[in-house]
Amino acid sequence: MKQLRLSEWLGWAPSRDSQARNACLLPPEKPGSSVPSMLRRRLDTPGRATCDILSKLDPDARFPLVHASRHGDANFTLAMLKSLADSAPLSPTRFSMSVHNANLGVHAIANHHRRPLQALGASGNEFNALLWEAQGYLAEGYEAVVIVFSEGELPEDYSGLAPHPGSACAVGLRLSHDDGRALVPVTSRRCIAPTPLDVIDWLGGRVPILDAASAWRLEEA
């Protein structure tokens, strides 16, 4: 199997202080400029950042897009569950946006994207699942694939009960077989479930290895 190569990446991590920032992080405030306001209003803040990342990494809407989130839009999902528990009617807007591929759908409408779209949740294995899906599309003959991994804020009710990076964040990578630094598989030192913040720290050079069920390092530039 050919090695995956990282052509470009972008992150969004408002919780990171300015010293930890680098050129590959989007401004923390008011994401969503890539989406018209009538569509943007339906996205939460990490959803808006996800669309901005997709738009910058695939500006001509040429590549398959894969989005993963472990918990999805947990705040809106919980709000709907509470409405159901109270026998109150559900918001049609929130219901329509409760599917895991909602962010990709909004992005595709806004950017007239007509290539494959795929949304994943993988119980902590999101990053490796994204890489496998990218390999599949590249094997099909696509020139590149854009993957995005994001998490929203965790509702207070779930605090301490669900693995979470602690704040909303998102990271996107454009991957191909022939452009950029290779993702090199290495022996995993500890099997953890990497979050988007872990991926940002790895891509930004703060840690040399991304530990996961399958661990990775980046080829030297």
Binding site: S37, M38, S91, P92, T93, S96
Partner: protein, 89 residues
């Protein structure tokens, strides 16, 4: 402000708040202009959300399948006429 103008303003605020319209003020909503499509630019999900809001706020229940529902949602003026006729306070 008379009662009719007050209701129109209340409906405008309801639309803006319920549908989370960014950068839209009550003055931007023309009472006679279409709410959907070329006017304010609302869509079918907004129609469902507005129907729910009308029920909660004014006690007005609409049948999504009824022929006249489309007419009631044609403009803010039509919506106002509907609420004046059917509100349950």
């Amino acid at each position: 402000m008379n009662q009719s103008d007050a209701l129109a303003l209340d409906l405008k605020h309801m639309i803006i708040d319920t549908l989370e319209l960014e950068d839209v003020t009550p003055d931007d909503i023309d009472e006679q202009a279409p709410l959907f499509g070329d006017g304010l630019g609302l869509d079918s999900i907004d129609a469902l959300e507005l129907g729910l809001a009308l029920q909660k706020r004014y006690g007005v229940t609409l049948d999504a399948e009824a022929e006249d529902t489309r007419r009631h949602f044609a403009s803010l003026a039509a919506l106002k006429a509907l609420v004046e006729e059917r509100r349950v306070d």
